[in-house]
């Protein structure tokens, strides 16, 4: 019997070792897998590279990892953490390297990783500082830059419901980057608020087919 259900967030993140590269679903503070990130914090993992839209805004998960210097490189589109100078302070202390990539380019570059495509040409960023050093190429008289696929070892995603096959549905705008990261080549661990029996999620409504998910764990009661 296929059973991807993991008993606890602590168990789920055990295979994440020092230096791992992580896709982290979420936007602002919506749709992050905070239980998994807290378990990763408790586990003491260091030297992480994260690929997410932004450093999460809440006090849990990604924020704890950043505060404790566990994330040594952050790839994101929006690195500000409103109301704090945490990111600036980490950079000043030489503890955090930062790469800024436009939001849509992050999304597509992760999709490329999952879809077996080595990168893509985009008009986004052409003529801006973010195009520096990148391959430029014209198609039909329009200039594009090449953005390579983004790779990670693990994807930590947050969903609303899931089953033991790994099928997932999301809650409203908490969907955001989560399905795209789940569909990557990374080992995908999903935190879900409810575990259901296969068949309870309609085949028409499943957003992430289970084959993209390697482990699934229920959110802690809050």
């Amino acid at each position: 019997m296929i059973n991807k259900i993991c008993p606890s967030p602590e168990e789920a993140v055990k295979s994440i070792t020092d230096g791992a590269v992580l896709f982290l679903g979420g936007f602002i503070n919506c749709g992050f897998a905070d239980d998994l990130l807290d378990a990763l914090y408790a586990q003491g993992t260091v030297g992480l590279t994260t690929i997410s839209n932004n450093p999460s805004v809440g006090e849990r998960g990604m924020t704890r990892l950043l505060q404790d210097g566990r994330i040594s490189r952050m790839i994101c589109s929006y690195s500000r953490k409103p109301g704090t100078s945490l990111i600036e302070d980490l950079i000043d202390a030489g503890q955090l390297a930062l790469d800024i990539i436009p939001q849509g380019t992050i999304a597509e570059a992760i999709r490329c990783n999952g879809a077996g495509i080595p990168g893509f040409y985009t008009r986004t960023g052409v003529g801006t500082p973010l195009a520096k050093g990148k391959e430029h190429r014209d198609f039909d008289g329009v200039t594009y830059i090449f953005e390579p696929a983004l790779h990670a070892d693990f994807a930590l995603v947050r969903a609303l419901r899931g089953d033991r096959w790994g099928n997932l549905v999301y809650d409203k705008a908490a969907r955001n980057f989560n399905p795209v990261m789940a569909m990557s080549k990374a080992f995908t661990i999903a935190q879900v608020d409810e575990i259901v029996t296969p068949g309870e999620l309609s085949p028409e409504h499943i957003i992430t087919p289970g084959i993209f998910v390697q482990q699934i764990v229920r959110s802690r009661k809050t």
């Binding site: 990111i87 939001q103 960023g125």
Partner: protein, 225 residues
Amino acid sequence: MNKLSRRQIAWRLAQDIPEGAVVNLGSGMPLLVSDYLPPDREIIIHSENGLLGIGPKQTGPNPDMNQINAGNVPVTLLPGASFFHHADSFHMIRGGHIDISVLGAYQVSEQGDLANWSLPQGEKAPAVGGAMDLAAGARNIFVMMELFARDGTAKLVRQCTLPLTGSGCVTSIYTDIAILDVIAGHIHIREIIEGITLSALQAELDIELVVSPALSLLRAPALDE
């Protein structure tokens, strides 16, 4: 001079959004536009975090923070709304399926270049978000800004000195003093507020304004802040 307030700029811009348009509102000042959409028009608001068909802000004590727009504001949905993931959301943006993107700006150039993400000194923690995708992909870019910075410097310039967000992308510029359109590398003035003459405004700018034959007064109703 009857300079428009930020809300009045938002109101004025909102009047130019046609029925059926698909519109992305950048965070900050552009989000004010949603308060003034003409009620007799169906306008589809897109948010890059994966929503189409956004209605008014949520009210009440327990907002649903899983239903936010890109500015972290909890919003309602209109009938016909939909959710989708980020790759699909930027498929919409990059692929030219968004009619109008409303963005703030630090500078706009005569050629329609836009600078709105990084200040001259640079930032340790920059925030580009989806602005470059919108600048490159939306069919029309409506910029919303005060025409002059607090120190009196014009934000409408011959060449941007700040790092660009996109080049040649701006369609129209809605400001507290005038509405301007970028047409083939020239800035056409379409509306100007009462109390300032065209020549007085021209004297403050480093670029040459082309006067629209239909030049008219820029007006907005009094609005609660």
